[in-house]
Symmetry: D2
Subunit: 337 residues, 4 copies
């Protein structure tokens, strides 16, 4: 392992950019978060000061041009990911890019070409892979305890729908929300999707339908090895953030249920009450965000393949596109990954 | 309520016929199980004697011709259900018929015509509706606690595949196994299916594929009210008979997990061990078989609509046929119920 | 095994006597329930008729004098158990006696002497040993999976206190309620109690205190092998009948939680709701009552030691007496078993 | 709230002192960890540097004499707690003192006198009160959802016994281990203990008995309001760190079960496997250690009563002493709190 202290920059200090910044400062004292850029950088001065961040700027090129920066986290809006990634690669920076890299597979391929030419590390922000529960399920599968995989099921339901403004630019439920589940089935299965059938309805909020989107979805995936994937999504589970998985195979079945706010249970005349699932993704996946950055740092320091790479970023988008097409045409759609 | 003691006959004394016989003798002392017919009736003498059954015969028409018999349970092989049902209706007997009534919807319609003309009660053997757990889920939904239904999920996996001989005449996984789940989604949803997409693979036993059948299946259903149904089946869950449901809606989500062999849990150095799900359908659904017959008896005594009627028998078969067609064509298939 | 069909009589047709009668008729067709006696036998005619019981009488000696009766179940009030048991033994009848045999250990010893002289089988009604969950825990312990036992814990709480009239003649909470737990710790531990410390309070119903009794109790037991037993009781758990056990040892810990009314669980905005424990002992221990009688019948037919014998009946009463003394004196009390 | 940035010092940089240091640096950027003292301070240079701690010293009086230090955390060996606390109080420092303050109640009283005279805040390190699960149980009780408390139960078992060297100076199981549970029952009950009965055995390690100590214990407590407390302890639960509580009352029962390493569950032919409880107290109570220090800081900044004060430190020791006496004499012992 290199003895040099790594210097990081963060591009985009919205909710997720600030989360990464705080996690880096709290948890990774072997690296330095040197710079942060954001269009609204003036309002970040106090926050950045409290974290000991040296530079804040309104222009991300300041970070890319800084020879003292080794790696960047791209946490800006989705439609800027590709352009900034290409520039960062050209500048020789290692890149952690939030998902999705882009909604257009061809643009992602262009990004990956630049990344390859530059020889930098490129990790995509599928944080759920680093959740300890899903990781344990993954390890259980890899250890052969489930045998050959026959069925993978994911239930993924948000506690509340996003704003109409967000829905409008989100790329639709499959690109915005199910994409996490597409990555998760790929991760768990160790196989590639060959066909997608997707359907859904507007059950929660009529205005979502007005943008041509849906709020309730079901997807069946076929894998190269014959296994079947089943995903269901909802934009609104009133009981909280519902995140469950199941991998069923020839030797057994591994499941992960929801993390709850506490383990206190009250029995009374009306029944036995347990706590709801954790409500919000930042709370539910808190640790996973820390670990994914630790893995990114470790990949750089040890010059190894990152745990979620460019092809993971590309393939999840290809599946999402196929799902959207299936939903639009009412027929299963083949995917070539 | 009639004061007269009801006399019953059972046609077909295989596993399920004998089960009904024993349940009737043990649990319903207000009725009399008078006669049982079976092709191999000679071997049943001891068993029938221990239950106090007066007549055993090799010919079911003996039962239909007995004016002292009020009602019959048809537990003979599937391909005889329709013919015997028609004869029983003509003889004025109330009918409990094991599922499926027939694999051909037109034949079922003919049966239902005869039933209607005869004015007899006709109940179909979808016993799972009478399971206390599913019934509680049903009641929770009916009480409005789930709100509008958005998604219904059923996991239904057998502990081991049937024999090749059985597979050959079973009508295929959708007609033989998923049909229970089709009935369950109709029961839970209170809405009718409008479209079916079904897919599957041979993952467990190559010989099942040789009969053109599959052993691992996934189905997505659309309901008239926009809700989505998702079913997954396997012919072999090594950990036992896996029977779970989930109804998700605008106000909440009700789930039913597996009944286990006991509630003992052992914590040791290797983990925390709970018992497996009950292994076999006769064990898991033991009580439901008793209750369904109690409901049949009660329907006769009170001259009321049976809880599972002819249209339930017909519609589940129509969905099963559509599922098979979807699987064969690779496309969703519309259903008119 | 004897080929002769066993004839049984039941003495006392209150709630528990009638339960045994119905279980015998429904479940054990290899025996015949020939006679039932009860002070109020006239009102039992219809019930007895529906079960096919030949004789009902107001005088239990009619049963004891019937040479056709092989065995009796003594289900009369506690203060008659000993006298009837002695007479039944003298008449050469095998005996199933509800618990407690008597509240006075010397009287129990006298009963056991008569039983021994008569050479009849004598089983005491500690039904909980036959609950499938506790039996699984017992087997887990016997298989060595818990290792050496260090701690046994029992939580045993009733859903509602009995009537004041019952409390008055009950012998107190330790003799009436905890006695089941004393038997259970003996059963689970396979060791004998050497010391008892018992304490308690009146927390639920002041009138219980007026009879010198308590409604909330805690007991610590020492076993010959050094293990510790801990029991807590309440006469009123508003959420139902709370019956849990735990056996902790050098290799692990086995626990049994409550059986619930169903497995349906509702998640909504207010939390995650499961069903309450089964409310009533007849419901919770339904199967155990059937099995204990099956074991009694089997003990007779195979002329083997019954699973709960006279010493079990005696020792549980000795512990209950010691508990009462400990509660009265405020000090631990030694027990010699 | 004061705008001044608080400066902290830590006295004793063993396992728990270093944990607090790291938590403060990671989580409380509004305070400054200025100094750390430890007898072996030379070996701490790298560690202290990585945390940005300015001063490390072998002499805790350097910290007490530093006028720039507002508050100290006393994490040195137990037998130094009292002396350092008194000196710190005289120096006008706010004090967070690890438990127990001392094993001698009179010495604790002397400490508390000095604290009172100095008018400094004095918090004792009963971290479990800040565990989110127990806190939720506490809040449930305080909201009246359990009604009047009748029974409080705590199961508290370590994964492995400490070294013989530690046992020798530990003050015995009641002072070292059960003391946490004594504090927890006081916290949950909101009432004071009036009587203690304690018993126990050497079941795990004979060498523990050679120091006059035990490794398996059971305690029954009586509270002023009539409620009963029940604690069981073991020095070795092979399945991990077993930490459960239960509060039972007139309106219901709240329980907290164990946190597990993950929520993954594997069903296979041998059973249904869940993960073990978290193994170690640092892992299980990780968050509680962070929160207790946050509460300490907040108490100083807002000049309010700390959440665990000197009387909590004293009373838990008084109960522990009574428990030891009860164990030695074999009789219940009265406590005056």
């Amino acid at each position: 392992m290199s003895k040099k202290r790594l210097n990081l920059g963060i591009i985009g200090a919205g909710r997720i950019g600030r989360l990464h910044a705080e996690n880096i400062v709290s948890c990774y004292r072997n690296v330095k978060l040197k710079s942060v850029s954001d269009l609204y950088y003036e309002s970040l001065a106090d926050w950045a000061g409290s974290l000991g961040i040296e530079n804040i700027t309104g222009n991300y090129t300041d970070i890319l041009n800084d020879p003292g920066i080794d790696a960047v986290l791209i946490c800006s809006p989705t439609d800027t990911h590709a352009q900034i990634s290409i520039e960062a690669a050209k500048a020789g920076k290692h890149i952690f890019c939030e998902k999705p890299v882009d909604m257009d597979p061809d643009i992602i391929r262009e990004v990956l070409n630049h990344v390859e030419q530059a020889g930098v590390i490129f990790q995509v922000g599928f944080n759920r892979r680093f959740d300890k529960n899903f990781r344990k399920a993954f390890n259980t599968v890899r250890e052969g305890k489930v045998g050959d995989i026959h069925i993978i099921k994911i239930t993924s339901r948000d506690p509340a729908p996003p704003t109409p403004e967000y829905i409008k630019v989100s790329g639709g439920i499959f690109m915005d929300m199910t994409i996490h589940d597409f990555d998760m089935v790929r991760y768990l299965s160790g196989s590639e999707v060959t066909e997608v059938y997707a359907t859904g309805s507007v059950m929660i909020d009529r205005s979502i339908g007005e943008f041509g989107d849906i709020d309730t979805a079901a997807v069946i995936l076929k894998f190269r090895n014959g296994a079947i994937g089943i995903i269901d999504n909802s934009r609104k589970a009133v009981y909280g953030y519902d995140q469950r998985i199941e991998v069923f195979g020839s030797k057994g079945c591994v499941t992960v249920s929801n993390e709850t706010e506490s383990l206190a249970v009250l029995s009374n005349e009306t029944g036995v009450w347990a706590e709801k699932p954790k409500y919000f993704f930042l709370e539910r996946y808190k640790e996973s965000f820390i670990i994914e950055i630790g893995e990114f740092i470790d990949s750089i320091l040890n010059n190894r393949k990152p745990p979620v790479d460019g092809s993971d970023g590309l393939n999840s988008v290809l599946i999402a596109k196929a799902a959207k097409e299936s939903f639009m045409t009412g027929k299963p759609v083949k995917v070539e990954l």
